[in-house]
Amino acid sequence: MSKTLFDKVWDAHVVNTIDNGPQILYIDKHLIHEVTSPQAFNELRERNIPVFRPNQIVATADHNTPTLNQHLPVKDELSRKQLEQLAENCKANNIEFFGLGHKNNGIVHVMAPELGITKPGMTIVCGDSHTSTHGAFGAIAFGIGTSQVAQVFASQCLLLEKPKKLRVKVNGKLNKGVLPKDVILYIISKLGTNSGTGYFCEYAGEVFENMSMEGRMTVCNMSIEMGARGGMIAPDNTTFEYVKDREFTPKGQEFEDCVAYWKTLKTDNDAVFDQEFEFNGEDISPMLTYGTNPGMGIGINEFVPFESNASFEKALDYMDFKAGESLINKPINFVFIGSCTNSRIEDFRVAASYVKGKKKASNVTAWLVPGSKKVEAQIVNEGLKDVFTEAGFEIRQPGCSACLAMNEDKIPQGEYCVSTSNRNFEGRQGPGSRTLLASPLVAAATAIEGKIIDITKHLN
């Protein structure tokens, strides 16, 4: 029978099926962090259950870490205790842990791919909804709750109903200044925030085939923002080249054998999806969100739409925007380039290419937060640090930072922030903060101008 990429990976991981119930799905890799794991460790301890496969778990500290002075003890007491507890839990259970300051430390969805922990054909879970990022490699990767973290600790498996299958195709070429972030914001703006609920999404077509791995990660990362548990892109030579020679990647013949298997993971020509959508790459502009969910996005030179319902009006009221107005020339005081969506080296390269030789506007606070220690080092080695510091941007240390504002990196009440992160929910970047999601290019341009500009008119 014809199968999709998703079917092939899923079916290869089914241990057993309960009659009229869920399937037991085997998990190859379990990534954990400080915020959603402590209660799961407690649960196992209380029930006297050992961790079943500690060598298939990798831990990092990212959500609740400071992005300044990481060499000093963490000031906030609750945060410090949470981080200490992760270190203790990992030690007690023989789990590999990349804590603050470790050379492999970083945002879980940045560090795992760059170390070669993420590989095609795997099942990967983490107590974080943006685990969908790893689907860029042709892996089934999805976010889980803490009860499920405990289940994977106990059995390396989860009980799940097989999701339905959705395919989004984007063919054609992207216009100048249109980045992977714009592609996914465009898709979500067209399909809505719950269109993918109950589905796993495969992204296919020329636009994704021509995308770098960093770009594919940005796209798959935001699958959850249209409700899909995960997104996937079929592995190809771009994937194999990226994975090759990384720290945790098999070497030599073992790698070649893996590649031979990974090449079989494409969706068969006559495989059937439960739902399909198709868009043209040429129709996509640089995007910006105007509301309080990621589906509320428009092309940067379009107007805030009219819609008559209470939730829509509540969102515009929160953002202090009016239906029918343009966002061009809106003054912006905060810019954040970072998060598991856009904190990889490619994101900083594209921002630096625009910033080079310019100065940020005096009203703007511009934070650049690399996704990992490795990205941080690359920024220095490629000379991007000088470009940014000369322009007046502040480069901080790796972590989730102002994407969710669990640490001190908060956008003040009422302020707008053009952000490369993934969620523009009310208060997401700090109580009362107002987030406009955008690509690293639009974010960089906003920092230079101190207001939103039509980036399409400023590209050479």
Partner: protein, 196 residues
């Protein structure tokens, strides 16, 4: 996990769509390492203003509404996978959330904590929302065994779907770990046969 039996309760209406888990429990409250205490900060930024004053217009602060059933707009629980959202709702005292659509991860988290997410049709949700809003003292009956939600005094009722396995778990207070641990042999056999 506590067993879920029939529930008769008043309800609190929250007629807002796309309520995300950042609203249910903002990230700054996720620093705790146990499951207790999140109820105090459920919907924190909708319940309190920037000066920590109660916002009277918000339904949870309105003394005329009470009960352990939350009736909310479409696409409830979208966003972050934080199970703290389910702990915040159970900690606040909710046992049931009714909406016309739930986000996947939230739904799973709720079920794993004995919080029953009931997905109803948009038409029923509208009727129920209207009823609850104008009859704060009216009681609603949820019968898990029969898979029904009804307002006895108003003769509106609807059947809801729930996965048979999850229903058994809720009614008996079982959780998935118990089941998975009983399958360790199968899991080990699978591991030895696995090539990639």
């Amino acid at each position: 996990m506590e067993k879920f039996e029939t529930l008769v309760s008043r309800a609190i209406p929250l007629d807002i769509e796309n309520i995300d888990t950042d609203q249910i429990i903002p990230a700054r409250f996720l620093k705790a390492t146990d499951k207790k205490g999140f109820g105090d900060n459920a919907f924190r930024d909708w319940r309190y203003d920037e000066n920590n004053q109660k916002i009277d217009s918000f339904a949870l602060n309105n003394s005329k509404y009470s009960g352990s059933i939350l009736v909310a707009g479409n696409n409830f629980g979208c966003g972050s996978s934080r199970e703290h959202a389910a702990w915040a709702l159970t900690g606040y005292g909710f046992k049931v959330v009714v909406s016309s659509f739930f986000a996947d991860i939230f739904k799973g988290n709720a079920l794993n904590n004995g919080l029953l997410p009931i997905q109803v049709t948009p038409v029923f949700l509208e009727k129920l929302m209207n009823y609850v809003t104008s009859n704060p003292n009216g009681e609603i009956t949820v019968n898990l065994e029969e898979q029904t939600i009804c307002v006895p005094s108003n003769a509106i009722s609807e059947q809801f779907e729930i996965n048979a396995y999850k229903k058994t778990c809720l009614m008996n207070g079982y959780d998935d770990i118990d089941y998975l641990l009983s399958k360790t042999n199968d899991i080990e056999v699978y591991e030895t046969s696995k090539k990639y």
